[in-house]
């Protein structure tokens, strides 16, 4: 059976077959085997290359988390970019820069108004989460074309806050 995942937005394909209680994996031309036992819903016991591993797995929506030897790997069933919501208000299609929330949080302040000319590095908005304020600065000199949120709004990560029109 073949699966496709995305890790850091890169596609990786892998096939898996069961053979005499062991699992054979193929990534491009390379093949390798591992003995894997499902101990409980989140816990795997793995024998691979002569070493044993205690592995924890979990999923959240289309994400699979694998904790292996002190490191967490995230695999997604779909490419990350496809998940952006509110594409309609996305200025990317016009090629304009869009200021997005870097994390889930609360919009504390919008520091510009629509139509205002802004300098590069001018603070455009402040988003707060967990008592930490984050100033979002303009990447370019230009004009504020649209503002999508107002102070007090709760926003999710990647939510579009403002669209800019760069100075020609």
């Amino acid at each position: 059976m073949e699966f496709e995942f995305f890790s850091n937005r890169q596609a990786c394909r892998i096939s898996v077959d069961k053979k005499d209680g062991r699992f054979v994996f193929r990534v491009r031309e390379a093949a390798f085997e591992a003995e894997i036992r499902l101990v409980s819903a989140n816990h795997l016991y793995v024998l691979f290359g002569g070493r044993t591993y205690r592995v924890f797995v979990a999923e959240d929506g289309d994400r699979i988390y694998i904790s292996l030897a002190g490191r967490t790997y995230v695999f997604e069933r779909q490419r990350q970019e496809e998940k952006r919501f509110d594409r309609a208000e996305d200025g990317d299609e016009r090629g304009n820069p869009v200021i997005r929330a870097p994390m889930p949080g609360k919009v504390i302040k919008i520091c510009a108004s629509e139509g205002e000319n802004v300098r590069k590095n001018q603070t455009l908005a402040i988003v707060e989460a967990m008592k930490m304020e984050n100033e979002l600065k303009s990447p370019v000199a230009g004009t504020v074309k649209r503002i999508f949120v107002s102070a007090g709004d709760l926003v999710d990560s990647e939510k579009a806050l403002l669209e800019l029109e760069p100075k020609p």
Binding site: F56, A58, D60, G61, G70, M130
Partner: protein, 502 residues
Amino acid sequence: MFKKILVANRGEIAVRVIRACREMGIASVAVYSEADRSSLHVQMADEAVLIGPPPAVESYLAVDRIVEAVRATGAEAVHPGYGFLAENPAFARRLEEEGIVFIGPNSRALALVGDKVQARQTMSEAGIPVIPGMKSVAASIDQCAREALRIGYPVMIKASAGGGGKGMRIVGSEEELRPALEAGMREAKSAFGDDSIYLEKYIEEPRHVEFQVLADNQGNIVHLFERECSIQRRHQKIVEETPSTALTPELRKAMGEAAKKALQVAGYNNAGTVEFLLDRNRNFYFLEVNARLQVEHPITELVCGIDLVHEQIRIAAGEALGIKQKDLNQRGQAIECRIYAEDPAAGFLPSSGKIVFLKEPQGPGVRVDSGIYSGYEVPIYYDPILAKLIVWAPTRRLAIARMRAALEDYVIMGIQTTIPFLRDVVSHPSFLSGETTTNFIPRHFENWQENRAGDEALQLALALAAFYELNRPPGAPPPTIRARDLSSPWKTLGAWRIGGKA
């Protein structure tokens, strides 16, 4: 002894205090905001009272609502934890007036040590060393030059109205003084509209060393030695240890006595911490008093064999300290790492959301003070601390090895945490050799990134993801974008007001 205590806090520290209550046979009351309905402290307490909407000003900082909760549940005392109302003299006074016991210092001592200028003055008069400097703002540049000579170079120019580093200048010698003063005054003028400045001795690469003190209501006082908290990021401690590698027995004794004296002159009772800066030549200077239980209190508990929360509760109930200074010893080494919901590879951006799986480390000498569980949603409203990992071992080398192994075994999936960053911090050669100063993080860990995963490990992880897919329970709904949307914290906000009245 009290029969019921209300814990006016949330998260790991509320859980810690509730545990102590349970051990002492005291009923506990949790308070919670709408964002914390399913938080661990609420699940663990004997009773829980909803005190308001998610923003702290309307819940955990709302004095009236907390007093109401005390009245409604019949609690006799309030433990404030750290943060929120813990060092608020008005809160302590209000409880005193209402006849409710505040498990912390009396409101007068709290007000005195909370005023930084007054505290510095009080300590200086009591003969406790403070950072040498001018007692008032400079009248002229010539006066500054005379004062700088008296204080000794390097000196720091500080704006009287200051804050945020504005107007601050470090001056290494007399030649540099005049231009630096002029520039500092200009900067202060434009930033604060006030060009008053003063000079203070500049402490190069200091260590941050604090002393834990316990004082009962009868006048007995002991110190429980130091905690070294030099590993800081933006003035936030992230790794703490005790004993400090920088103290000799004589210096430890002198600092411990100074710490006790500082709290005695302030008329302080209950648990408190006196913070000092230690310079390269092992001179120490009073910095401030932390008038509460500290985040890093567990390391003291592990090396001294004392439960600080039990002591706090007993002192508040009027019992005399059962500990004598001569009976206190430091045994072995303890280290604490603070586990934050922050993404260390992305400038420490807060990382809220659902913890899809949690497995905390275990083993000899490993303690986890935690406020989280598998399935817990980390809210955006509060401090990002999730838990504290504390280890104890007979030697510092062993304690570091134990901490590294415990961090390796710590599994938090679903959000980003500081665990991989902390692993690199406690593995750094300068940490191993005990060369820890407040410059440690900026010097060694600017723009930190986790080192790349090995190809073989990455491939095995990919294989395990495929194995997981292969073993999905039959009939499980196909995971889609919708499924992910449902698990977003914003979908479970319920009736919270968005941008409602403050």
